[in-house]
Symmetry: C2
Subunit: 199 residues, 2 copies
């Protein structure tokens, strides 16, 4: 790849660092950026800096937000007694799309994974326990992915929440086992919410 | 996709504009950028602006360069009488990797494609003819891809160069090195037979 001018090589390298983008794809993307009008390339660069600078984590639910409390945590219409625990902000988006859920969320930002050296302290578990300890929450719905790591994380958290006076439930297996929440269709998510089971 | 804060949505949209990047991939890439240290996100943004600003086309061969003549056009070691015509700067990189070629290049930036409304005026064909007209070039190697559009472009340019005193050649067709006869398509085998060489 040493046959392109340095600034182009540089851009190819940056694209190649992105997950799932190989060398050839990185070249294709860098060439595409060069073909853009200067204004559009600038807009792309600005979007990166802007997102990195202005997207923060909600101090309550740890979901992404543009500063301060997120819209869901600050909405008075949301049921404060119901808490849905997900691994990823994309899962919040997926559940919101189903329009079936009116409670609050808690985003763990990952799942327990000893293989990848992810332990309880790497996740937003302590903030979840603190939240439940305040006593407003009556039910915690564990909505991690129905795979091994998601299950383990759900069981681990369920055990942590035992001392508190809350119902801990799990999304029903309307979701295909081994699948990912993010890719579930709306109807499946709706069924899964409606059929949740106590664990 | 209206469940993420605006700056994040914005970044997802920018990624989704890239060729070959769908909605889910764009989300994944945007989330990855958010997970980067601020410094690395800034470096990515800078690389985009820098490449767009500092990569220009060589005034002679139309290959990408970081301002002024490209390294190949400005090298006195390169044979000026030999000109290799390619569709894309990536093809220059591919031929350079073979270390077999010591002439100059001319980059067309595309091939003739009536279906996509690409005509001769959209390519660097006039600059090629002007270059050949100067009289230094003795052989023009047409190295466009061996598909219909590449062939058509090569034939079109060969005809344009007829009035000048230059040899116009085409890359050899045949079985790829390391390939298997069994898997070669009929057209390639036919060409390989027709172009057989004495050993």
């Amino acid at each position: 790849m040493e046959y392109f001018p340095a600034p182009l090589e540089h851009l190819v390298e940056q694209f190649a660092k992105l997950p799932g983008i190989g060398g050839k794809s990185a070249q294709r993307l860098a060439f595409h950026v060069l073909s853009l009008p200067e204004q559009e390339a600038q807009a792309f660069a600005d979007a990166i800096v802007d997102a990195k600078k202005n997207v923060t984590l909600c101090p309550v639910c740890r979901n992404f937000t543009a500063g301060g409390l997120c819209p869901i945590c600050s909405s008075p219409k949301r049921d404060e007694s119901l808490l849905c625990v997900v691994a990823d902000p994309r899962d919040v988006a997926a559940i919101e799309r189903s329009r079936e859920y009116n409670g609050r969320y808690h985003v763990l930002h990952g799942v327990l994974s000893p293989m990848n050296h992810v332990g309880p302290d790497d996740l937003e578990i302590k903030s979840l326990v603190d939240r439940v300890a305040k006593g407003d929450v009556q039910e915690v719905i564990m909505a991690t992915n129905p795979d091994t790591e998601g299950e383990t994380t759900a069981m681990y958290i369920a055990r942590l929440l035992k001392p508190f006076d809350v119902r801990v439930t799990r999304l029903a297996y309307g979701i295909p086992v081994g699948g990912h929440l993010e890719f579930a269709d709306d109807a499946t998510l709706m069924r899964a919410l409606a059929g949740r089971q106590e664990i």
